[in-house]
């Protein structure tokens, strides 16, 4: 039995995943404490906290430190995602295909670096303009909001990386999905970093809109990242679902993450705006999620093969549902029910306690985990036996075309 891709790729994917959990936790806390604009300057250097951290103490500058730690974690995840993408493509068996993927990634990284440097220049120009405005000089033109040349080049090379992944899927190489996914993830992580930065840079123009997109896209990136270790794992034949079982669970497996994602979008809107429709839809779609989840669980656990292959994943998901319902109720009560002086204040403007921030952040994180788990479950259910085939003559499992599917009789 052999994994479809080199083992170090899986290790790197798990490392990136762990770093992303830290990043998401810090992001959730930053939002809960409303510290997204604690430092209105963006971009800053990755080592900003190392150089300047001593100037700030936790008591007075919690929001600032939290937001900058979130930025530092973002840089770490960005670096890990870059290494992961390079490692995944490096592990490709054919030189030509390895080559175009790696070249596209290298060019993207180089151009993105230039883009980031130009944003630094724009930020310095903005600081100079701030001094000029403070002096009452209003004729200093605002700096470029988006460096057009490097921005466009970054977009083009991001498309190249995406296209390289798509092209790679047409080959018969084992681990092609992991390789393509790692390239796409790198693009997504970069886009997510930019969304986070522009959320600060353009706050005065777009308000909480970019915050919501940043918060939603984080869920997508994390869910996709969770699929990498699943797809990079060695596919044990005894852990594969028979074809008829896959078909039976098929549409439910995809419907669940779709509905969870819709529910998360309403959750993000509830978190960042006072939208009354989102407040209702977030709860209503929660019923749909639980209904679908329970439906999938009863179907999956009703057969021995389902119990054997999906048992852990399903019970894990149900446990997350239970925790999330409790946290959701607490988060809603904490946000919308208030007594005393806070009762007169609009829910979005109420002061937040550390306990309430912890509950809301945990609610966000469990929501992310539910999406990621349901996506990973769908991938496991829909994943074909592809990566391995049983060579009966040799009596061993060997790599074969990923598009192949084993039938129920073969697995027996």
């Amino acid at each position: 039995m052999k994994a479809p891709i080199a083992g170090y790729v899986r290790v790197l994917a798990i490392l990136t995943l762990l770093a992303t959990i830290v990043l998401l936790t810090l992001g959730a806390l930053t939002s809960s404490f409303r510290a997204g604009m604690a430092d209105p300057v963006w971009p800053t250097e990755p080592w900003f906290l190392i150089v300047n951290g001593h100037k700030y103490n936790l008591e007075e500058h919690r929001g600032f430190l939290l937001e900058h730690t979130h930025r530092a974690a973002g840089f770490t995840v960005g670096a890990l995602a870059s290494i992961l993408a390079i490692a995944a493509w490096w592990s490709g068996p054919k030189k030509l295909e390895r080559g175009y993927g790696l070249i596209a990634i290298a060019l993207l990284l180089a151009v993105y670096g230039s883009f980031h440097r130009e944003m630094h220049t724009a930020s310095d120009a903005r600081a100079a303009r701030q001094v000029a405005l403070a002096k009452g000089l209003t004729d200093v033109p605002p700096p470029e909001l988006f460096p057009e040349v490097t921005g466009l080049a970054t977009g083009v090379f991001a498309l190249c990386v995406i296209f390289a992944g798509v092209l790679h899927l047409f080959t018969n190489q084992p681990g092609k999905w992991v390789r393509a996914l790692c390239g796409w993830l790198l693009v997504c992580v970069m886009a997510q970093g930019l969304l986070g930065g522009y959320r600060v840079y353009l706050d005065q123009l777009v308000g909480p809109l970019l915050t919501q997109i940043h918060g939603t896209f984080a869920q997508v990136v994390f869910a996709a990242l969770c699929c990498v270790p699943v797809l990079a794992a060695a596919p044990a034949p005894e852990r594969q679902l028979p074809e008829f079982e896959r078909r039976r669970l098929g549409w439910l497996a995809f419907a669940l993450p779709a509905v969870v994602f819709v529910q998360l979008i309403w959750g993000v809107v509830v978190r960042h705006t006072a939208d009354p429709l989102a407040q209702r839809l977030h709860i209503l779609t929660a019923f749909a999620v639980v209904g679908l989840g329970v439906w999938l669980a009863t179907r999956a656990l009703s057969t021995p093969a389902g119990r054997r292959v999906l048992g852990f994943g399903i019970w894990h998901l149900l446990l997350l549902f239970a925790a999330q319902l409790i946290l959701g109720v607490e988060a809603y009560l904490g946000k919308f029910a208030a007594m005393g002086s806070q009762g007169d204040v609009a829910p979005m403007a109420r002061r937040i306690t550390e306990d309430a921030a912890a509950i809301r952040s945990l609610h966000v994180l469990i929501g992310t985990a539910i999406l990621a788990s349901s996506v990973a479950l769908a991938v496991r259910i829909r994943r074909r036996q592809a990566a391995v085939a049983i060579d009966e003559e040799a009596g061993e499992v060997r790599m074969r075309d990923e598009s192949l599917t084993l039938t129920a009789s073969e697995t027996r």
Partner: protein, 386 residues
């Protein structure tokens, strides 16, 4: 079970689910009611003030600033620490409700803010309902998370240095001649457009002029409302010597007084003029400035030129960190005109006094302060950076 029977049952289940969904979704508009997603809830009223009105801060100096999330608790504890303060909850409930209703009648709600009759503009900046509503909607998105819905500066996203509490009617950047703590409208515009460097106050340099003006108008609205509320709290308190018989009239009087102060503050003060010096003349000026700094008790607050973290109570009763003058970033500007103005007029809300010096002495102090962050610009015999 026959296939056709199964299909029939499946169809009924789908129709049933569809009906249930349609029923639930049709109820959504009713539940959402008239609450707009891009502004304040029309039913929302300004919250009544609950934190004490600090008249005199405690005699002892603070040693640290409280966590921004715990400003309310800190302020509530000030009377126990020896501060002279008026606590709103001491006022009988009926009078508190009367106070709130009066303020609502005069100043409207966050969704529809108004000004009392007779208060129409400040220095050409209209304070009409339309401008205030525009400013309020913009304020909710851009400012309320730090400055709070009532402008108390205790917003959910408040950091340190604490956001400005507009309710006292006291501001730090003022260039008017009146020196009553009120800024000129131009000062407000500058702070909104340029932010405050080194703090969480961002710049809003990309907003159109009318957007900046609407925010400035709404800040004035919150400030006048806050001052009227404060005056009523002080007057209605059981220990007060005032006997307010007509709450409405008292609120109008307080608002009128605050408005008059805003109008008086609009005349610009004379700019500080700084002679340009270089070489030995500049070095001598810096030396004289250094002596003046030491002899005018500046070091009593700016200990080690501000390098030693020192806190002093400000007019709001909160600890204010004395700035480190050896750092090149000054919140209210490093230009000679800015520094000269700050020295001549002080920063009243932070209890920084105005220096009583001749113009040429102020110029020497300005030269010293401008050189202070840069060891190479300071004469070596001063020993400031040792």
């Amino acid at each position: 079970m026959l296939k056709s029977e199964r299909n029939h049952r499946g169809g009924a289940a789908i129709r049933g689910t569809g009906l249930c969904l349609a029923f639930v979704l049709s109820g959504l508009p009713l539940g959402c009611g008239s609450t707009p997603s891009d502004g304040y809830d029309p039913h929302l009223r300004y919250a009544a003030r609950t934190d004490p009105v600090v008249l005199t801060p405690p005699a002892d100096q603070p040693t640290a600033a409280p966590d921004p999330l715990k400003i309310d608790e800190f302020l509530a504890g000030l009377p126990q620490r020896g501060a002279k303060a008026v606590v709103p909850s001491d006022i009988p409930a009926a009078k508190r409700e009367q106070l709130k209703q009066t303020l609502d009648a005069l100043f409207g709600t966050p969704a529809a803010p108004t000004m009392p009759e007779g208060i129409a503009a400040v220095s050409g900046l209209p304070l009409d309902a339309e401008t205030l509503a525009k400013g309020s909607a913009s304020y909710r998105v851009r400012c309320s998370s730090c400055h709070g819905t009532t402008g108390d500066g205790h917003g959910i996203g408040a950091g340190f240095p604490y956001p400005r509490d507009f309710r006292r009617g006291q501001f730090k950047r003022t260039t008017g001649i009146a020196q009553n703590g009120k800024p000129r409208v131009d000062d407000l515009r500058r702070v909104i457009r340029g932010g405050v460097p080194g703090t969480s106050m961002p710049l809003f340099d990309l907003l159109p002029d009318d957007g900046v003006d609407a925010l400035a108008a709404y800040a004035i609205h919150l400030s006048i409302r806050g001052e009227a509320e404060e005056a009523l709290i002080r007057g209605l308190h059981p220990d007060s010597e005032d006997d307010i018989a007509d709450v409405n009239a008292a609120a109008r009087t307080a608002a009128g007084k605050a408005h008059r102060h805003w109008l008086e503050a609009q005349t610009p003060a004379a700019e500080h003029s700084q002679p340009e010096l270089d070489g030995a003349a500049l070095a001598n000026s810096v030396r004289r400035g250094h002596r003046l700094f030491a002899n005018n008790a500046c070091l009593s607050c700016h200990e080690a030129y501000g390098r030693t973290p020192t806190y002093r109570y400000d007019v709001w009763g909160l600890p204010n960190k004395v700035p480190d003058l050896t750092q090149p970033e000054y919140r209210w500007g490093r230009e000679p005109a800015d520094l000269g103005r700050t020295l001549k007029h002080g920063i009243k809300p932070a209890n920084m006094p105005a220096v009583i010096l001749k113009d040429e002495e102020v110029a020497d102090l300005v030269n010293f302060l401008r050189a202070l962050p840069y060891p190479a610009k300071l004469p070596t015999d001063l020993g400031v950076h040792k």
